[in-house]
């Protein structure tokens, strides 16, 4: 019943045995030990499991692992001291930290795609994630600081 799938995750090839119904989130966490992606609802509502699939933010609870085979996947573990991570730390843009990976991946994708994203784009993109601890204020400051500093370049 299980099948062998080759995934390309965080610049590495990984082979995993999965069921056809396994979600990418399940595989990341249970087969690959990449527990930075969090299950918050497993229904596509909260964004805590967000990772990048070919550079686009995807809710990995809504992706089947078998579908993900030919794409380039980046999880929070694949980011190395990126400016958005630094900004999150500096601006106090997290509290419990559970939604943080998802938010950072979404922000990262946004700033990669639109380095000069405006307020409207930021709001539109970040609607897909829920943070229950902060009032989103610090998250907004974190991404704003990245957008502005990129503009300055």
């Amino acid at each position: 019943m299980k099948q062998l799938v080759e995934l390309f995750i965080n610049e590495e090839k990984k082979q995993v045995h999965v069921r056809p119904t396994d979600t990418l989130l399940h595989t990341l966490r249970n087969n690959l030990g990449l527990t930075g992606s969090k299950p918050g609802c497993e229904n596509g509502d909260c964004g805590a499991c967000t990772a990048l699939v070919d550079g686009r933010p995807m809710k990995t609870c809504l992706v089947l692992t078998v579908e993900a085979a030919h794409y380039k996947i980046t999880t929070i573990e694949g980011l190395k001291d990126s400016s958005i991570q630094q900004a999150f730390e500096k601006k106090f843009a997290f509290q419990c930290g559970y939604c943080t990976s998802g938010f950072i991946m979404n922000c990262y994708a946004l700033t990669m795609q639109y380095p000069n994203a405006d307020k409207y784009q930021i709001k539109n993109w970040l609607q897909s994630n829920i943070c229950r601890c902060t009032g989103y204020e610090e998250i907004e400051q974190a991404i704003q600081s990245i957008v502005i500093s990129d503009k300055a370049k």
């Binding site: 527990t35 497993e42 419990c96 601890c133 009032g135 989103y136």
Partner: protein, 801 residues
């Protein structure tokens, strides 16, 4: 040689200046510095681990079978088919472990026995090799139910006519301080009698009556509840849980399953949000019996979002009648209040929340004559537990709506009415606790500050355009913690050979940032850089000193005091060891910047690292002792409540504040935007301003979310129909108002360096302030949550003939 000497001289000169600077300016003072969260890097890289992130080799998975009915008799449970499913290791039902649990009234079986009392109640548990096998087998557990009448509301329950939810209430173990009325489904009736009620009525010129209510809702922490349990051959029970109360889990598992307390070991890593919902103990018991049923194998049980919302405890609901009296010039004279709290199917914390609301029912206002009856009522809803604010947000909604109504009747400015009656040192609370400068902050100053910040003088109702009205609403707030009168905390400090320190406390890091604040407190106490302190981030009952529970905004107060005491203990021991080297009395010495030095001549010193394991003389002899610091804290001066009058000293201090909300309301569509939310809290001394602001804005956001859209919807059978984020809406990124947060700083005299807790207070006045602003904007009384546009529309429609 000469050069060496010069170097040494320069070094000493520099060090001496440093020490003098410390003495003169206290320059290693970390109070008021927004140092980044200690665990920050781990959280932004996804490496911080939460309970469900850990796996044990050979672990099994448990999945719950839950009740599809709100109230029904269990006629039979047939597990034969489920047991035969692939991968299944055990199927457990309530009768296998007939134990009743509960933090106050022991009314709740681990898994339902004989009847179910709410939709989603755990009925059986299936343990299998994988989660999907367990899930599949759940559908083969056959339960036959016989439906019973469903009690949908506190009103229905209170009549006691249709049904009793707990027929055997009289048999339950319960605290003596409860006054139940079992024939009315009431688990606790709290009475507060202060002053002379008839006199209060007599001297009142004006009396207003109002009824407010709010439905049950959810904590909705982003991490769903998760637990692991394993029983070792030695009999040791290991539990790992996403919890605010690991020490309570240890106590309760030990008590209910008759295991020596030292054989129950509870570990709590990072917790992904809690808000009171993870102070309750439920899944831990279930995981324990699941493990027990498989001969002690490691079991993992993680809630789905859907189960987390309805099977585990929720936020309490409330219905309240308020009668508030005043003289013509706006002096409050009397308050008559009835609370009916919707505790749901079981009591858990609800009886104490009921008590807290009653004992603090006036809010931060002076009222001499108070008559309050608060009832903790069973219904066929999910059971409630503590929620951020612990009854204070609910009572604030009731009293603050009444105050606005009173202001209207008196034709008085609602702000002036509040300022005029603001409670102060010398006054007493409804529970007749005497307020002093040391235990209450400055309510009036908070109100006056908020008046400016929300630009109150602009007018509370301002037309913006044809259909849009800008309106402002305010609320006062106060809160005390309702802890056991002997709640305790502790701190242990060990020292490494280089003089750096390890701090170990029992406070759970649930997102509130207390551990970083405690590092700041220790660094300030020891006069060292915060980088010299390692903080144990997780909590383990086998090694961490007990901390009552990480609740009630008391962690900084309790553990902070323990840390200060432990630091003093370390300093005392360091001075003792150093006195051998410096040939003086220990009391002639001072500790700072990793050095022990002579007060009279700071240049004469010894580095801490050479006195952490006693002091070793040149010939090898060692004097003194190894340094281990310990500090403890136990609540004091708290008294139990008098059952007739409610007389009590319930908490160590009252934190006060004021809040305001500004909305732009569309009179045609009834939609509105929350444009501004303001808080002024008297938070005492603030250690970490950025962290404190985040706690306050986060709580405000949660309060606005709760007030504007959150609440469970039940169908006619008592089933919750919105148990996922798709249908249970919370505030999102672009719905946030501008936040303004300011602090008044009245030191809490017995707080560590004057600090007070701020974890919950931001939520308390938000529902009231939002309702007050929208009531003005829509020109109607909005006394029911959530304040969705449809509700405002229906209210207006009711009023138009």
């Amino acid at each position: 040689m000469k050069l060496e000497l010069k170097k040494v001289y320069n070094y000493h000169k520099k060090e001496m200046i440093k020490v003098l600077l410390i003495q003169q300016m206290g320059c290693l003072n970390l109070i008021g510095k927004s140092i980044p969260r200690r665990e920050g890097k781990n959280k932004v890289t996804g490496t911080a681990k939460y309970t469900a992130d850990y796996s044990t080799p050979g672990q099994l998975y448990a999945v719950l079978v839950t009740s599809p009915h709100a109230h029904a008799k269990i006629k039979s449970i047939d597990i034969t088919k489920a047991t035969k499913c692939a991968g299944v290791q055990a199927v457990v039902t309530g009768k296998d472990y007939p134990v009743l649990t509960g933090s106050a009234v022991e009314d709740r079986p681990v898994l339902a026995i004989e009847k179910v009392r709410y939709f989603g109640e755990p009925v059986a548990i299936v343990v299998a090799n994988s989660e999907y096998e367990a899930e599949k087998a759940c559908s083969y557990v056959q339960v036959e139910y016989e439906l019973l009448p469903v009690l949908h509301s506190v009103e229905e329950s209170f009549t006691g006519k249709n049904a009793l939810i707990h027929e055997s209430f009289h048999l339950y173990t319960k605290p003596k301080k409860l006054k139940p009325i079992p024939e009315r489904n009431v688990a606790n009736h709290v009475t507060v009698r202060k002053g002379d009620f008839h006199k209060g009525k007599h001297i009142s010129d004006v009396l207003v009556k109002t009824n407010v209510s709010l439905p049950q809702s959810d904590h909705a922490a982003m991490e769903t509840r998760s637990v692991k349990a394993e029983i070792l051959p030695t009999g040791e029970v290991h539990i790992e849980s996403s919890s605010q109360a690991p020490f309570d889990i240890q106590q309760m598992v030990s008590k209910h399953f008759n295991i020596d307390t030292n054989k129950v070991i509870v570990h709590t890593p990072f917790v992904g949000g809690a808000f009171g919902g993870k102070a309750a103990i439920q899944l831990e018991f279930i995981a324990y019996i699941a493990s027990k049923s498989t001969g002690g194998k490691p079991i993992k049980l993680t809630h789905s979002r859907e189960n987390d919302m309805i099977s585990s405890p929720v936020h309490i609901g409330m219905d309240s009648d308020v009668k508030l009296g005043a003289t013509n010039d706006g002096k409050l004279t009397m308050l008559e209040m009835t609370f009916k709290f919707d505790s749901g199917a079981y009591v858990d914390e609800s009886s104490d929340i009921t008590t807290t609301a009653a004992l603090n029912c006036t809010g931060p206002y002076k009222v001499d004559h108070v008559w309050c009856d608060a009832y903790c009522v069973y219904t066929n809803h999910p059971y409630a537990t503590s929620f951020r604010g612990y009854g204070h947000g609910e009572l604030a909604f009731a009293i603050e709506r009444a105050l606005d109504k009173l202001a209207e009747k008196l034709q008085m400015d609602p702000m002036e009415l509040r300022i005029k009656n603001a409670i102060k040192p010398g006054d007493t609370t409804p529970s007749q606790a005497k307020l002093t400068k040391g235990n209450i902050g400055n309510t009036k100053a908070c109100l006056e500050r908020i008046k400016k910040l929300i630009d109150w003088d602009e007018g509370d109702v301002v037309p913006v355009s044809n259909n849009v009205i800008r309106a402002k609403g305010i609320s006062g707030l106060w809160k005390t913690s309702m802890s056991p009168t002997d709640a305790s905390s502790g701190a242990i400090i060990t020292l490494n050979k280089d003089g750096s320190m390890n701090l170990n406390v029992g406070v759970v890091e649930i997102g509130q940032g207390t551990k970083t604040t405690l590092i700041q407190i220790l660094a300030t106490s020891m006069q060292v850089d915060e980088s010299k302190i390692h903080m144990k981030m997780d909590v383990n009952t086998e090694s961490s000193p007990e901390h009552w529970k990480t609740v009630a905004s008391t962690a900084v107060y309790m553990a902070g005091n323990a840390v200060v005491e432990a630091a003093e203990d370390v300093k005392r021991q360091l001075k003792n060891n150093a006195s051998y080297k410096l040939r003086c009395k220990p009391e002639d010495l001072e500790v700072g910047e990793s050095r022990v030095y002579l007060k009279s001549d700071p240049q004469k010193h010894v580095n801490v690292q050479s006195v952490v394991r006693g002091y070793k003389y040149n010939n090898g002899n060692t004097a003194g002792n190894m340094v281990i610091g310990r500090g403890g804290f136990v609540m004091n001066q708290l008294t139990n409540m008098d059952l007739k009058t409610g007389k009590a000293f319930p908490g160590p201090a009252w934190t006060v504040g004021a809040q305001a909300v500004e909305v732009e309301f569309n009179t045609r569509t009834f939609f509105y935007t929350i444009t501004k939310a303001v808080s002024v809290l008297d938070a005492g001394v603030i250690f970490n301003p950025k962290g404190a602001r985040g706690q306050v804005t986060g709580a405000m956001s949660m309060g606005l979310s709760w007030a504007s859209r959150e609440g469970f919807y039940f169908n006619q059978n008592g089933n919750i129909i919105n148990n996922q984020f798709r249908t249970y809406k919370t505030l999102r990124f672009d719905e946030q108002p501008e936040y303004i947060v300011d602090f008044v700083n009245t030191e809490q005299l017995d707080g560590p360096y004057g600090a007070r807790g701020v974890g919950e207070h931001g939520i308390i006045g938000m529902p009231a302030a939002l309702a007050n602003s929208l009531s003005k904007a829509a020109n109607t009384s909005l006394n029911h949550l959530p304040l969705i546009p449809e509700f405002i529309w229906s209210k207006k429609k009711e009023e138009t003939p």
